[in-house]
């Protein structure tokens, strides 16, 4: 019998084949259906296989070695619980994105710049997860970056997009080099690049520490950890929306996979301080990410910044898991890791959903700028409904899925007083506060996103002409919305599904959840904490319908439409509505002064003057200005100085040669 791994590799090969095919046919009309249909089929099959592998016994799957890649090592592929779980995430994302693409693809002005790279991108992500040696891993990793870069460059005529693509690929390359160094360290001078060998080797403390830092740089830059996130809000929105969904919802998860694979699997026992570092970065990322999102008025960029926040949440849980693992608290570590993985899954659901929604808005109106949108709930009722579901889920509100993973993370934090180290003791509650802060800010952010985009009155003519999107896109979005609800009301199912992963990485698992009465989830004991999404959902449904029933039975039915009351001020123009920027103003006042060095300046004309009053808001991207501007400045300075060497006279060049010769001879003369 052929191994499942071989089957999955055939799937990846089929993706690549589709990519080749797409190159040939991409300019034909039928290409969109053909390519997305193919990717839909392939990723659905891969998804099924991966799910079966996760629920089955992934340990028994035999690895596959192909005579490709590094010659004397070959390309190793393996499937274990961790990779099976991430395959599920990747291919579920791929399936719905393909479904969405079936309809959305027809609006693509340059299909030949999207179709070949879309399957390639999927193939790359699948191969990263399957890879079992450093070379194959990095090859797939960078291939994934490259394919997504090409997709970001699909609409290359806009200057912002080319800049986005540039920054993206440079940062991706930086990340790859960091990973490369990490693997070099783990492989040792003899070049034992297989993961098996790395797992068997005991890295020295220095090597383990350096590898962890390098992984944070490498995987962190791909995932979007602050301060390595700068490319993300530029690149993700620049791609076509279903690709944005894949990049935000899935590719960042592949980065998390890379981090998990190395830090939890290959590095062996972690040091306790690694938990502190990861927690700190995670908390910082979560809060800063969502604050950036709040300041944003471009819908897709807002979503991209929110991805950064969610990555922060995931890394907080990972940091906890590391801290617990380092202190031999396996059950707590399993809880934290489950929280992280659950959030990985959840985020892939709702972020894809939200990007699909943003894509729908974009096709319907041609606008990403929220200040030009509004009132779309009337024109696009179905899209607005699923978008609302996405917003509720991502805001971590019960009974949807986002809440469950945050709840698990909080439960994990509550396990932490038993940690012996002072650093962790002080860090964990503070990070818990940051997590709570980011959750509350996320809710604010998505009130803004939904409220400004879909509610209120239309702010531009384009909105008034908007049409509901096609049925493929709706099918994709409704699937995800249903999944968000399902994972929210049946979290036990997901938690049990994750248990093989925690077993393999931590050696422990959360208690079996599906056996609990009423399908509750109980991390430790019912008397300590429990949550039942299903019952909360049912209760809300019952009490809401009860209230509605009572009202309709006994209260007045009269309803009259009239102009809005607004305290007696008739709003003449839709422009007088609250905008995205004004909505964020209170929060900007509270947090913006230190997070963005925000300044508001009011120019009030003297009494009697007819000049308009003016309010200007100045916002600084502190991360960019602190970390990146000095680098670009230094490179610019160095290039300018060095560039003089291009314009010397021949004599000066000879002088260089001469001085070099004399120096070398001097070295020789002084050689002992």
């Amino acid at each position: 019998m052929t191994s499942i791994v071989a089957l999955l590799l055939w799937g990846a090969a089929a993706f690549l084949g589709t990519a080749m095919l797409a190159v040939a046919v991409s300019r034909r009309g039928s290409a969109t259906h053909l390519v997305y249909g193919a990717t839909l089929g392939i990723s659905a099959v891969m998804f099924a296989i991966a799910t079966a592998a996760l629920t089955g016994d992934p340990a028994g799957v035999s690895p596959v070695t192909l005579p490709l890649g590094l010659p004397w090592i070959g390309a190793h592929f393996r499937l274990d619980a961790l990779s099976a779980f991430f395959l599920v995430v990747v291919n579920l994302g791929g399936t719905v994105a393909s479904l969405y693409g079936l309809g959305y693809g027809h609006h693509e002005p340059a299909p030949h710049r999207v179709l070949p790279f879309f399957p390639a991108f999927l193939a790359g992500m699948n191969m990263v997860v399957l890879a079992d040696d450093a070379f194959t891993f990095l090859l797939s990793w960078e291939f994934m970056s490259l394919a997504s870069w090409a997709l970001v460059m699909a609409h290359h005529r806009e200057q912002d997009n080319t800049r986005a693509g540039y920054i993206y690929l440079v940062m991706a390359s930086f990340g790859t080099l960091a990973l490369l160094l990490a693997f070099g360290l783990l492989a040792g001078p003899d070049g034992t690049y297989t993961f098996d060998a790395m797992r068997a080797a005991e890295p020295s403390r220095f090597a383990a520490a350096a590898a962890l830092v390098l992984m944070l740089l490498g995987a962190g830059s791909k995932a979007g950890l602050v301060p390595l996130h700068v490319w993300l809000p530029l690149a993700h929105p620049a791609a076509p929306s279903h690709v944005s969904a894949l990049m935000s919802g899935v590719m960042t998860k592949v980065a998390v996979y890379g981090f998990l694979r190395v830090v939890f699997d290959l590095l062996g026992e972690p040091a306790w301080w690694s938990g502190v570092v990861v927690l700190f970065l995670g908390g910082l990322t979560a809060v800063l990410g969502i604050l950036y999102a709040l300041m944003e008025k471009d819908l897709k960029r807002l979503l991209a910044y929110s991805t950064i926040e969610n990555i922060g949440v995931i890394f907080v849980s990972l940091g906890l898991a590391l801290a617990f693992k380092a202190n031999a608290m396996p059950s707590a570590a399993a809880l934290a890791l489950t929280a992280a993985l659950f959030h990985v899954l959840n985020h892939s659901f709702f972020k894809s959903l939200l990007f699909f929604g943003a894509g729908a808005v974009l096709t319907a109106t041609g606008e990403r700028n929220m200040e030009k949108l509004g009132g779309l709930i009337h024109r696009m009722p179905l899209t607005s409904f699923v978008f609302l579901v996405g917003c509720v889920s991502i805001s971590a509100l019960p009974p949807f899925n986002g809440f469950v993973s945050e709840w698990l993370a909080f439960q994990a934090i509550l396990q932490s007083p038993d940690l012996p180290q002072w650093g962790l003791k002080v860090m964990v509650p503070a990070v818990g506060g940051l997590l709570a802060l980011s959750a509350a800010l996320a809710a604010a952010c998505f009130v803004k996103a939904f409220g400004i985009t879909f509610l209120g009155r239309p702010r531009s003519a384009a909105v008034e002409q908007a049409q509901e999107v096609d049925r493929y896109a709706l099918a994709a979005m409704f699937t995800l919305a249903a999944l968000c609800l399902l994972a929210g009301i049946l979290p036990g199912l997901v938690i049990d599904g994750l248990s093989p992963v925690t077993l393999s990485l931590i050696g422990s698992r959360m208690p079996v959840q599906m056996a609990q009465p009423w399908l509750s989830i109980v991390p430790i004991a019912e008397s300590r904490s429990s949550y039942n999404g299903l019952l909360v959902f049912v209760f809300i449904a019952i009490s809401a319908s009860l209230a509605a029933f009572v009202i309709h039975r006994f209260a007045s039915h009269a309803l009259r439409r009239g102009p809005a009351w607004g305290c007696g001020f008739p709003d003449v123009t839709p422009a007088a509505q609250y905008t995205a920027v004004s909505f964020a103003q209170p929060i900007r006042r509270v947090f913006g002064t230190f997070a963005f060095r925000a300044r508001e300046k009011v120019e009030m004309p003297p009494p009697g003057a007819t000049a308009p009053a003016r309010l200007t808001v100045e916002i600084h991207d502190v991360v960019w200005e602190t970390f990146y501007q000095p680098i670009t400045g230094a490179v610019g300075y160095a290039t300018e100085k060095l560039n003089r060497l291009q314009f010397l006279t021949i004599r000066r060049y000879l002088t260089l040669v001469f001085l070099y010769l004399v120096t070398l001879l001097l070295v020789l003369a002084l050689w002992p």
């Binding site: 006279t649 021949i650 004599r651 000879l654 002088t655 040669v657 001469f658 010769l661 004399v662 001879l665 001097l666 020789l668 003369a669």
Partner: protein, 220 residues
């Protein structure tokens, strides 16, 4: 090897270094060219002496080339060129004469130190020769580097090449020496022709292509 042959070889090679030093402090072009002619003459003598000592007759050819081509043809040619295209006859220095001399002394010392590290079992003649040849090469480079005029740089290059020939002839039984000296002569001829063709009055970089087109008679 008897002492006299060694002393004569030593004397001639040392003389070459001395003449190289003389080049360093010339501030007129014509004087420089004349010193170079002297350099070539001493080289020719040295090579001839080696030919005699090693009993390698083909080296006489090299000596002859040095004498005829470098000591006569090239200096005369350069004189002509300077007059024909009106090159400024002062030597513009990038580094003053004094520092250049000091640097030159340093370079000679450096070559000595380097070559004295060579194990004494090696042929002492070769060893001394090499030290002098290295000095001459470095001094030639020094001339090229510290003089701004193209012609003086050509002269520097030629003296450098003289050092090479000295080294090559000092290496006993080295094949291809004659061929190499011929090849280098051609190379130098190319450079000199280039200076003439491109009307390089001052610097190497001041290539005047219009002049070349005039010469070819096919201006585009």
């Amino acid at each position: 090897m008897n002492g006299l042959t060694f002393d004569i070889a030593h004397l001639l090679a040392g003389g070459l270094v001395l003449v190289s030093f003389m080049m360093l402090y010339q501030d007129r072009l014509f004087a420089l060219i004349n010193v170079f002619a002297l350099h070539a003459v001493v080289l020719a003598l040295s090579v001839a002496w080696q030919a005699y000592v090693q009993d390698a007759h083909h080296l006489y050819v090299t000596a002859a080339i040095a004498l005829i081509f470098k000591a006569i043809v090239i200096p005369v040619g350069l004189h002509r060129i300077i007059q024909r295209i009106g090159i400024h006859r002062d030597i513009e220095t990038a580094v003053g004469i004094g520092p250049t001399m000091l640097a030159g002394i340093g370079l000679v010392a450096l070559s000595m130190v380097l070559m004295l590290r060579v194990t004494p079992e090696a042929d002492p003649l070769a060893r001394e020769d090499l030290a002098f040849a290295l000095s001459i090469i470095l001094l030639g480079l020094l001339v090229m580097v510290t003089r701004r005029n193209a012609v003086s740089q050509v002269v520097g290059f030629m003296s450098l090449e003289n050092g090479l020939v000295l080294a090559a002839t000092g290496a006993k039984g080295m094949p291809l020496v004659v061929e190499i000296s011929v090849a280098f002569s051609i190379l130098i001829a190319f450079i000199v022709i280039g200076v003439f063709l491109f009307r390089i009055r001052e610097r190497f970089d001041s290539v005047d292509v219009g002049a070349l087109d005039d010469y070819r008679g096919e201006r585009r």
